[in-house]
């Protein structure tokens, strides 16, 4: 497989996964805003920070109102991380590798792009927000399902999967970070206690993980168990640890994989060694930042080994 094609497949899956998870991120925050009593809610600014788009947002000169932030994260083509941009980038990557993916998959991505351009551009009305975001999530799920059901388990599939699971791990981490940034975990305010569990429940639900959590953890929803489930579980497919296992599985079948495997194993070791029992909001945030850095290292390793043509030229000629 051409290095350039491998890279495009990898990014196609990452961008689709990013579109899906950005939609999930907005859903979780919207639910949080509804669940929390007025006055304690932290608003929409943390979302922009969490997707590392603060500079781009500030450049727009807008305030952090719900409407503005959602327009920026959902429908702004000048924000490369927005849902519409992610889907457009996914389509662009798909377009350059349409000879490698099943035709229906290309048609589906193209459809989703047309839908996004028509319905998401410029932002969303509150009333129809949920259904449009749900459409994006389901569209990305259908993309994954089609690949699962129709694509050869060859090199191309491995790069798609590696890209998807790496992005998913990254976004699950960021979604947890939305919660940690609301700074309510160790708030001593007695009056807010009842809200904590509701908030964690909405995080689980935004990842379609509530039922799976109940089946697996067999305890009521509380922060320690939710964190353990979303970060360290090896069975829930959106849990960071489980995603890493999938990346490792795919990379294990690729050639020249010693470098990337080393970096993946290092992060897995690091996660296993962590105790999240009673972690403070600050420590949780630091932990997640370190985890995201580790995921970034995996991307770097894949990129250097498989995508960078100059690198391959030096090594192989």
């Amino acid at each position: 497989m051409l290095s350039r094609v491998a890279e495009n497949l990898y990014w196609l899956a990452r961008y689709m996964e990013r579109a899906e998870n950005t939609a999930r991120l907005i859903q979780v925050n919207a639910n949080l805003m509804l669940d929390l009593p007025g006055g304690v809610a932290t608003g929409w600014e943390p979302l922009v920070r969490i997707v590392e788009a603060t500079d781009a947002y500030e450049a727009t000169g807008r305030n952090y109102s719900e409407r503005n932030v959602i327009a920026f994260l959902v429908g702004d083509y000048s924000n490369p991380g927005s849902i519409v941009s992610s889907i457009a980038s996914a389509r662009e990557n798909a377009r350059t590798v349409r000879d490698m993916i099943p035709r229906e998959v290309w048609e589906h991505v193209n459809d989703l792009h047309l839908y996004a351009r028509e319905h998401l551009k410029g932002g969303l009305h509150r009333r129809e927000r949920h259904s449009h975001l749900q459409y994006v999530i389901q569209g990305a799920q259908a993309f994954t399902g089609m690949l699962e059901g129709t694509m050869n388990r060859g090199t191309g599939y491995r790069f798609l999967s590696a890209g998807r699971y790496l992005e998913r791990a990254d976004m699950t981490g960021r979604i947890i970070d939305v919660r940690s940034s609301s700074l309510l975990i160790d708030s001593g305010t007695e009056g807010l206690k009842p809200y904590q569990n509701i908030q964690w429940m909405s995080v689980l639900k935004s990842l379609t993980g509530y039922q799976m959590y109940r089946l697996k953890m067999r305890v009521r929803v509380h922060s320690d168990a939710v964190l353990e489930f979303l970060i360290l579980d090896d069975e829930f497919p959106r849990a960071v640890y489980s995603c890493l296992g999938n990346v490792e599985f795919q990379v294990a079948s690729l050639p020249n994989n010693a470098g990337p495997l080393r970096v993946i194993t290092r992060l897995r070791r690091h996660l296993q060694a962590q105790s999240l029992q009673g972690v403070s909001a600050d420590d949780l945030h630091d932990f997640i930042v370190a985890m995201l850095d580790g995921l970034g290292d995996i991307h770097e390793a894949l990129s250097q080994t498989y995508f960078d043509p100059e690198e391959t030229r030096r090594e192989r000629l």
């Binding site: 350039r4 094609v5 349409r98 048609e107 090199t155």
Partner: protein, 482 residues
């Protein structure tokens, strides 16, 4: 009933489906009856369904020179097919195969001993100042002596029913993917006709193309590694490059994916390392193949590719330099080539042409600009033409001075009343002018597509069929009599 074929205007030109008396031509009667049964709403509905299918299938082409920059447009397809009777098509098919055999013999001759010049049938001067003659190809012998492996020849039919060859595209002809996709869409739109009609299938083209390319491999005993070389996603025909690669199960590569190593072999950069490439179906112009051989002033291309091709370690289709015969001045000599190389009479006529390079013809052309079509010899896509009857005095004056300054660069032809096909315009059916581009594959065997891509000028009275200039397309049916 709201429409009758008696009301359909066919005066002054040849209609491909309807005779002047309103009856159906050979092979078209079932289609015309079906169309009569569709009321205007149903017609518009089916056209809408086709447009939707094209959008959903992502069939696009890219347009330049627009204010928005380069944009992706949905491919325009009219749902009423153009029909050619099988018996007539077989005659055309033989004519096309004959033509391409002669053209390949000509190109090989040009780059070797130039027998045709020595025999006095082709002036040497026309080669020396041809824009597409490549000195780098002199003395090179590509596999099987074939240079133009994929040829797209444009056919038109005049008012008397004669089918003429308008031009031969031997560089990187495009359009075949649209021929294949049009068929898929029309099958969705008129399933009932495909059940009853004996419509010749077109969909074996990708496997024919692969066989044509594979036969050129320098390592004939192995399964050849064939790749499609594209300039990239901003090329107007990128859709087709990706489509053909996918259909053939080949890698679609860009220049930066390939490298010529010290052994003068071509390799692709892959996640496994460097892998040998045997045949390159290149969809980039000569000038962008190899920055070392063609001083194009760009970084595009694969340094050393020409060297590898000259040494025979890789096959290029079409071969570099094949464009020397893709020149409207050379075109005028094709009937002579057929007689000279094949010792046969041409089966398909050329459109009568005046060479402006010839003093006497030039005088005639300059005196009759208002009734002629003047074409630059090296342009494609319908750019840079003068259509005399539709021109202004200022345009004619501009062309006249250009012709005087660069006579070698222009030919002139009579303005042909191109044939028409019924076409959906809103909820009505009106005649629109068409041409036809069949594709001819040559390597160890010659294969002609069953029909080709019918292009249609969507504006009333217009003769410009190019999609870059508002043209549309039609499915083309080759059917047995009935």
């Amino acid at each position: 009933m709201t429409f009758s074929w008696e009301d359909y205007p066919v005066a002054g030109h040849w209609d491909e489906l309807v005779r002047p008396d309103g009856r159906a031509r050979a092979g078209a009667s079932r289609l015309l009856r079906t169309l009569l049964r569709l009321d205007p709403d149903e017609l518009a509905l089916r056209q809408g369904a086709a447009d939707l299918a094209i959008k959903a299938m992502g069939i696009t082409f890219t347009v330049y020179h627009q204010e928005e920059g380069s944009i992706d447009r949905a491919w325009p397809l009219d749902i009423i097919p153009r029909i050619i009777a099988l018996r007539e098509w077989q005659r055309i098919e033989r004519g096309l195969a004959q033509r391409v055999r002669a053209l390949n013999a000509f190109i090989d001759d040009v780059y070797h001993d130039r027998e045709i010049v020595k025999a006095g049938h082709f002036p040497a001067a026309y080669l020396e100042n041809s824009a597409n003659y490549r000195p780098q190809c002199q003395g090179v012998s590509p596999p099987l002596g074939i240079w133009a492996h994929i040829c797209g020849s444009d056919l038109v039919r005049a008012a008397d029913g004669t089918v003429y060859v308008l031009e031969d595209n031997l560089r990187v002809p495009s359009g075949v993917s649209y021929m294949l996709e049009n068929r898929k869409v029309i099958k969705r739109v008129f399933p009932e006709l495909f059940e009853k009609f004996a419509i010749q299938p077109v969909d074996d083209y990708p496997s024919q193309l692969f066989d044509t390319l594979a036969a050129l491999s320098p390592r004939p005993s192995d399964y050849p590694e064939v790749v499609v070389l594209t300039p990239g996603i901003y090329n107007s025909a990128y859709f087709e490059h990706a489509y053909l690669a996918q259909q053939m199960g080949c890698e679609l590569v860009e220049g930066r994916d390939l490298v010529v190593a010290d052994d003068d072999c071509v390799y692709a950069r892959t996640v496994e390392g460097l892998t040998r490439v045997d045949v390159i179906y290149r969809r980039v112009d000569d000038a962008f193949l190899d920055p070392e051989a063609f001083d194009s002033g760009t970084m595009l291309g694969v340094p050393g590719l020409m060297r590898a091709w000259q040494r025979g370690t890789v096959a290029l289709a079409n071969a570099p330099g094949a464009g020397v015969a893709d020149d409207k001045l050379v075109y005028t000599f094709v009937p002579d080539m057929i007689r000279f190389y094949l010792d046969e009479e041409p089966l398909l006529p050329n459109v009568p042409s005046w060479l402006c390079a010839d003093a006497e013809s030039r005088r005639y052309v300059l005196e009759h600009l208002h009734e002629l079509v003047v074409k630059p010899v090296n342009e494609s896509g319908g750019y840079g033409m003068l259509i005399g009857p539709a021109s202004t005095r200022a345009e004619r004056d501009g062309f006249a001075s250009q012709i005087r300054r660069h006579p070698r660069n222009y030919i002139a032809q009579p303005t042909l009343a191109l044939s028409t096909v019924p076409t959906v315009i809103g909820d009505r059916i009106e005649p629109r002018h068409v041409d036809l581009r069949p594709f001819i594959l040559s390597s160890d065997r010659v294969h002609v597509t069953m029909g080709g891509l019918t292009r249609v000028a969507m504006r009333k009275g217009s003769l410009v069929v190019n999609s870059s200039q508002g043209g549309g397309s039609k499915d083309t049916w080759i059917v047995g009599a009935g």
